[in-house]
Amino acid sequence: MKANPRDVHTGAYYIDGDVAAAEGALAAGCKFLGGYPITPSTEAAEAFARRAPEVGAIFIQMEDELGSISAVLGASWAGKKALTITSGPGYSLMMENIGLGAALETPFVIINIQRGGPSTGLPTRTGQADMMQTRWGSHGDYEVIAISPDSPQESFEFTVKAFNLAERYRVPVMLMSDECVGHMTEKVVIPPASEIEVETRRYYDGPKDKYLPFKPDKNLVPPMVKAGDGYKLYITGLTHDEKGYPILNQNLNTRRLVDKIRLNADKIIETKEERLDDAEVIVVSYGITSRVAIRAIEQARKIGIKVGSLRLITVWPFPDKKIVELAKKVKGFVVPEINYGQIVFEVERCSHGNANVILVPHGGGSVHNPDDILGAIKQVAREKKRSEGIIEYKTGLEHLVFDQNKGSRPDLSG
């Protein structure tokens, strides 16, 4: 189905990634935002709040992130496409109910404008350190989808995509943006509604007494109904059967919760590949880091290193097959990320020892210096032997921090 023209602010604008993401949510038909202010995500909530009356959407600033995410679940079950917007500390507070959302197969979207550091960290500066939390942060077994934009334009487009995936798979979807993309102002073209594909919720239309809220009928995904439609739903976070009733058997429903994403992974996963044909070294990156890597890749090509780029648009589910296949062909992967190693573990896992994997770490606060990524590309290109485990590239920043130890970390083994 196409987007509703009332929801879409068609035109060309000069806006930041946060505002573009809010416009994306509205274009996707989102009608509920429950949020709590947190830097650097506030501009997105502010933009949504300004536009809410025009499109008949509800904006409520909840008392905290626990309340925000719970209200989002409730609104989704009331039939609204629902959203919350946050950053690291707020995201941590939402974890329990992200698990509830996955268990109840509730479609909703979280926009996470990531910032640096653990704890309060670097509130006004960038980071990419919530990537593993997205995958493993809530308790128990579950699967979610995460996609990562690298520009304001993509913040718009990917937010629409996030809502579509959430509805298609009845699953929480995370837009894993970051401060840099969120606060970067660029040209954003919002197309006419007729050019925006929007997934509507798949509602059950069979006989009322036959409805089972957790009985899948397509792609392992059950159709939904809303509260108030007369189905007398019983929805519980306890492990439940197809009817929603509690049972003491994980294998029935929890298995499907993970399978509906794992077995549909090929349909969900999207990557962007450049210059992979002859590549000996591949830079695997996502979000803002992909844009920084472009310069390093160009410079490496200039000096004759055959380097390509694999950009993860979908970060979760992880493109296992793609990495497995590439690892057999190349010397190594360079993984720059604004953390001390998260997605690099996935790359190393999938390379099965067939290729070297080098991490270009960054503690957050800014993006990488492209020279560090270039240095890592050179290191992989000249590496003769295959190393076990992940090689950590010693960046310029690391040298600064650990200068007194001559560029190495203090030896704590004694």
């Binding site: 429950g34 719970s70 679940l73 009331a78 509260a227 108030g228």
Partner: protein, 283 residues
């Protein structure tokens, strides 16, 4: 001879395929559910448009036994979940049915702010003075000196006064009964359901398993009678006087009944005003 009914008189509003329930003999949750069902039947509401939201705990299981759209959510989050449902579809009558630990301790912040915003919810808070589902730990409502498994030398923390908290946060309707005041409790639930805005009905309920056993208070029925006989009805009593002392008189009654625009009313007014004004969108 008494005629044997072949069906339960409340079966249209109970999930009979989930009976027997998990509650202990002598627990007050059952009578509270009865009062709620009688209230719903008397009001002749469209049952397709009534939702029950619970958190976690003994009372949290209510959602699983009532044959309405019902949501058993996470610990403490029944009120914000219900807020989302209510704002997502204002046509629905949304009832939060949960315990004192869920609503006042882990969910205390949501209780305060939903009351402040005057979200149109009816909150039925079953107060048994203890965390029962987890085995009898001290609660924010445990009376001074009472024993629990985590106050083995007697509770020394001042308990929350639920009606006072509700009033000061902005609730428009506040009542308290014991689980044996069935008729009065039912009437209060009826009034609360009809009242637009955030209404709170506190139900003092025996926990025959944990609170009673550790404090040697007898069977559930003894406690139920004790609470009933030791309560005094004082309508409109200032809520500051409603503290509950261990094994002393409990003041019950209807304390607050006032008017204030609900969140939805204010939001709709704001929407209308805002729509008339020029769009303030930045782009």
């Amino acid at each position: 001879m008494i005629k044997k009914e072949d069906h339960h008189p409340m079966e249209s509003l109970l999930r009979m395929d989930r009976i027997p329930h998990i509650w202990c003999p002598g627990c007050g949750i059952g009578t509270t559910v009865t009062a709620f069902i009688v209230a719903l039947e008397k009001l002749k509401l469209d049952f397709n448009k009534v939702c029950v939201v619970s958190g976690i705990g003994c009372t949290g299981r209510v959602a699983g036994y009532i044959n309405l759209d019902s949501f058993h959510t996470t610990h403490g989050r029944a009120i914000p979940f219900a807020t989302g449902i209510k704002l997502g579809n204002p046509e629905l009558k949304v009832v939060v049915f949960s315990g004192d630990g869920d609503l006042i301790s882990i969910g205390g912040n949501h209780f305060i702010h939903a009351a402040r915003r005057n979200i149109d919810l009816t909150v039925i808070c079953v107060n048994n003075f203890i965390y029962a589902m987890t085995g009898g730990q001290v609660a924010p409502t445990t009376p001074l000196t009472a024993y629990t498994t985590t106050s083995p030398y007697g509770n020394f923390e001042l308990p929350s006064n639920v009606p006072q908290l509700a009033e000061s946060a902005g609730a428009v309707y506040v009542a308290r009964w014991t689980a044996l005041h069935i008729r009065r409790l039912t009437n209060s639930i009826i009034e609360a359901l009809q009242k637009p805005g955030f209404s709170v009905v506190e139900v003092i309920s025996p926990c025959a398993m944990y609170y009673s056993r550790i404090n040697r208070l007898g069977d559930g029925i003894d406690m139920m009678k004790f609470y009933h006989e030791n309560s005094v009805i004082k309508h409109n009593e200032p809520t500051e006087n409603l503290d509950i002392d261990y094994q002393k008189e409990i003041i019950v009654g209807k304390f607050i009944n006032r008017e204030r625009p609900t969140f939805t009313d204010s939001y709709n007014d704001w929407l209308v005003t805002e729509k008339k004004a020029q769009s303030k969108s930045m782009i």
